[in-house]
Symmetry: D3
Subunit: 294 residues, 6 copies
């Protein structure tokens, strides 16, 4: 169960409102690198956590923090749009350098929300829960969380660089620090778990497959790995094998012949069996039809 | 530039064709955990790689390997559907235990492809390139790649468990071994990069923000972190700070007041400024209209 | 800023775990009628609220309540999947009536989350923020909120009917009661606003358009409105006009002729102007190219 | 069955063609607030209507009118792009104020359609039928229809404000008048139905739940409802209860413990039961595999 | 402008209502092969048609016919669900063969629409306007229309085969006949246009490129085209060249070196230029920030 | 199985780097007309090909070529962004004509990829596998492939026209030539197949339906087909019928009455049967609930 406090997680100050920067900020709200993704990812991982509540509580705490980050960024969008109401807009009509930004405004900021944020990215593509990585293996989920924070922090540093506004820069310094902590805390969980480096940790590669599990398959025809490539020589990171280079054709196999389909699949004569009298009875679909109708 | 060989990357053998298992296999082709995702992720990271070609070649080699894995799985789908053409379908109409599977078939396998694979997941949701994580920071990308393989390997082990078919089990052992290697190789790159554990590695948290960067913000009202929680005490994983627990209200700030909008935004009287005579001139939209029309 | 409490918003008890019912529950989490939609809708409307905070606080309070409803339903999914681990699954192999449910399980519940909920609907379609209605006019937003609760309550009553499980029925009684209150409270806001019945309320239909604003355009060739149709006779609901039936051809207009395009649009000779010598210079695209290259 | 007439539903005149305005118009075609949404919503509600044809005919009449509105707006897009062919484009290369619009053009208007409309929004996001609200309860559907028109009319007034073109302003006055009528007519149906204000109207909240159905759950920690809040005091809108403020913790419940999963779910040792010798047999997935293979 | 007639385009009769067949029918409504796709494709091609109205009228006539086909199929879905209300459902609980279908029902048919059709495919994936092919070149559009009908007719024959219901079979015979005519009519337009076989027809391959335009690039390492392959020998279909086999490496080129990025892109040190003192000034993002802030 | 060569399929040279042109190029990578679509379409058609490998090999060869085209275009995007790093960006701040382009840049090119391509279109909409047409009938698939190349070639000619850059123009000449060959080769396959012009070719329209299969249904009220319309007179293209004009009302039928639903569907009293005492027992959903619970 959740409670809302009127305070923002951090102060949001915009010294020079800029509608085009409002658009850029959307990437951090609704993009695959944004807060709605990590919020959903941690909350659902937490809701689904089983066994000991140790990690469930951690996931829900940070998922809850991220809801507040969505609020912070939505406020930043609104403040960047707010200033748009007066002089700046006049300048659009007279100052070419300002006018140049007109094309870069997100039209839904004025058409769809009346000067507010949308749950979408910088191109107006709505957030999709398909971005969420939640595989239900604790190690894999932690790997996904480290990755989401690493990508999100990269986006955050770029948004920091793309503004001269002191208020916006201050807000980003805070959010980048939080992304740092979040990367650190998921790595800390992996340390606790004595991360076996091969999620999931309870499936071993046995026999001939143990060999396949440490070979670099070189699918480049003319770019062999450098002599000092860590991924091609030396012990594997999990300590269970030795990296080596493999010709992928060694384990290749001739393609099995796919058989023609029954005639009622209508694949075309080239790929159909049984067009003669003998088997003009029901095929795959006809039998489904019969079964459905029974 | 790419070349295709008729050989499959590994042998695909189906002893007991099973249309419902064909549906489950789709998750490994077109789901967020599947081969189309890693294929696209590595290829685009490779195409966009800049500077030294060392990592570009690695990314493209493995991205190319993954195209072949899509081929392997599509073949497995086709072979599981193939056997559906005869006795099994007859059993549908007479054997309740077989009939039970009818509802679990992916209808597009017979309606849309004529007994072949689709670029979609087990629920028929088309693959979306929105699943691809490619942030353009090498460390963050490697983190994303480790995560994608960890999640993919988790899915693979579950698909392995969900079949008794010896051919399918053999295929999964191979693909799980490859997911092992791919996790290992991306970790090997991180080792080479002397991974700073905070991607991107070239943005430092300074001053007060260095403190914020290692504090666990406890957004749980009544579930404090366990005393031995690695993420709440001890040195941070990057060695640059000390984990500690923070009350998130310490850095909170009162919410700034969002101002009413110009009247022509039509937000409603409650949220509109300037309805008096004095400022009934063009607002935000009116000025845009004027600018567009000039 | 948000805080999480370990308590659930309401007790979740599952007497007879049922994986197929877990799938149906997903519609109430991630479907267009579900909790992720109202949660996102109220939170973003609240984040974007301007002027007086009266309605902002209301929106954020209820948006926050809805996050807890996602948690309740995700827990219900997990509990319905939990029981799947033992006898029930054995029955699959021997009891046709139980086996019948096999096809109705959401495969991602075991393949992708390891027996947990997904941010998706009953068909596994990921939640999309495109479902969110947030137009930025307070009356329109309240209309959208009443609608979302009415549709959500309809779904909830159907999910109530589709189970015999006493625990699940109890949970639905609670959630249906909350949907009642939410419908009521958004209607209460409309009462406060002296809802003008035509959102937005600050744009009047004038002159000839005032007539058009209350005419039922009968686009049915042979199904005239019933004599007592409220929408065809009597005063309009807003009291500003009189309902009447109109022949839509009265305001129709001949289609303007769309002109052929410049040749470099490559529309085909039928729809292209200027193929003669005289105007073989740059067309639309060529001039764009010139402008881009300058 | 449908018939097309060459006449447009209303005259479309563009005095100053403007490619950037063409882009804005797309929001009214393919956005969540647009004509494709209401067209699909009314047609599918009409196709699915059961019992008396009174409302079916109404829904299909207005759904059919909306197809014509898509045609009107597509024509407006084409005419705004048409003028782009000559002087205006030349100005792009020489007049900075005109050049400023270059960035605001929808690239698919020239790349994908050759100067025509797309079934997408102002950001080029394709229309999705996921926007359609059609719950199959007549009251809920009418609520959804009022909301769709309220949001659509808000968008329309903003597009009206964002242009100085007399032809475009005239077209919007007509379409806004139609949105008025459509809001009115759906409200008229609700009046006919003696709208019970709690869709669906045939499910009563009984016993303890009748109390829960009229309590405002204050999930704000520090922003209690204003003393005069209509949603917190006085009789409920449906007259069946009394609004009051409730502490949400009153109905809260301790979270049930989610049990570990069988080992073959591969959730990780922390969340797995049965790793000992005793139960190393098939778990959930293994039994599914056995069932599938039988 | 459009008008609706109460008559259906063809009679819809369901002798044995079957909820699972209702699900299969959805593919023909909202799938990439379905009626919503061709309806949208022809209507938008028609709305955007320029020059002579000859083809515009044809496109709009057939687009309008397709709206009626959506109505026919939605009716078929409703009728297949209707029968579900009584005996059949009872059988679910007692007859394993009937029970088998339970898993195959589209849950949104009862949860979301109350026994009606959805604008989605057989897996519940909402129709997306992204399926629409409308390139704005008349020849290319006609090619796309032939293809859409060919794919749609293939789906229709499969749905015909998958039912034993005489009413459903009769409906499909009609719709398949219409798909035949539609394929024929788009081919007739191509004949009128003296289809140049290379849409668009007004761009010639000149010089060295004329050679490249008729060479089969064999990207198969070990599967050369058969000796009699029509695409590898003989005159090209457009009569402008001679088919031949080409080694794709003949026109290949060494990959250009992509340069490192400015430091403020945060690509990582491996792919960054200018970390020394000399060029620590603003990079790409910093300059954008400066421009935005001016 | 696939192999990568470091060579590009064709040389990519950018003389005047232009970030706005980089955005336009994205349409050819990830749009419905782009290379990811044809790549996926040919590869999946090839993977699913059954019977003789003649066409499978052709499909896989060209699908493999298209992967290389994605690489070529991604390189072109990167090179157009590369030049953005210095003078050009400085000009943004001072030269209005250059500044005008700022709004036209794809923000994800610098925010999400660090100056690289994305698997998305010119508006940043991620590639969706829903664009792929693969119906599993060989003739229909070939029709779809001709269409995809015709639409893709149209896009390519427009991108050729929209640049003055000699390097980009040269690249497009090559790719347009390849689109020519691909159109030709799919047409060549249709010639081989003695294309029956009605895919699928093994379903005949019989009896009364043979008549319906060649009639143009004129759904335009006032725009009869021109006297010389090829689709309205003369022999059909397949030679099996005679084109003629038909009044669509000839085959129309009265709409069947849809029956009210059981009460527990909660459609509202207007559309519900059985509210009396006699049938207040379980309806559709109640019986499903009973079945699920058994």
């Amino acid at each position: 169960m959740f409670v809302h406090h009127s305070d923002l997680a951090y102060s949001v100050r915009v010294d020079q409102p800029n509608p085009m920067y409002a658009r850029l900020l959307q990437q951090a709200i609704g993009g695959p690198e944004g807060e709605l993704r990590v919020m959903s990812q941690y909350l659902f991982q937490g809701f689904n956590a089983r066994g000991d509540t140790r990690y469930r509580d951690l996931l829900l705490a940070t998922g809850t923090e991220e809801i507040g980050h969505v609020e912070v960024l939505a406020t930043a969008v609104a403040l960047n749009l707010e200033g748009a109401k007066s002089e700046l807009v006049d300048q659009v009509a007279t100052n070419p350098l300002v006018a140049a930004r007109l094309g870069g405004i997100e039209p839904r900021h004025f058409l769809s929300t009346g000067l507010g944020a949308t749950p979408a990215d910088a191109n107006g593509v709505p957030f999709s829960a398909g971005y969420v990585d939640a595989g239900g293996n604790l190690r894999a989920d932690m790997r996904a969380n480290v990755a989401a924070e690493a990508i999100g922090r990269t986006l955050a540093t770029r948004l920091y660089e793309a503004t001269d506004d002191p208020g916006m820069k201050d807000m980003w310094r805070f959010l980048i620090a939080r992304d740092t902590m979040h990367q650190q805390q998921w790595l800390a969980v992996l340390e606790e778990l004595e991360d076996p480096a091969n999620a999931p940790g309870d499936f071993e590669n046995e026999g001939e497959f143990a060999q396949v599990a440490y070979g670099f398959f070189d699918h480049n025809a003319d770019a062999p790995p450098p002599a000092d490539a860590r991924w091609a020589t030396g012990p594997s990171i999990d300590g269970k094998g030795e990296f080596h280079v493999t010709d992928p054709f060694e384990t290749a196999a001739p393609r099995p012949d796919l058989q023609p389909t029954p005639h009622d699949i209508h694949r075309g004569p080239e790929a159909t069996s049984g067009n003669g009298d003998g088997n003009s009875g029901p095929g795959f679909l006809g039998r489904i039809g019969a079964a459905l109708g029974s």
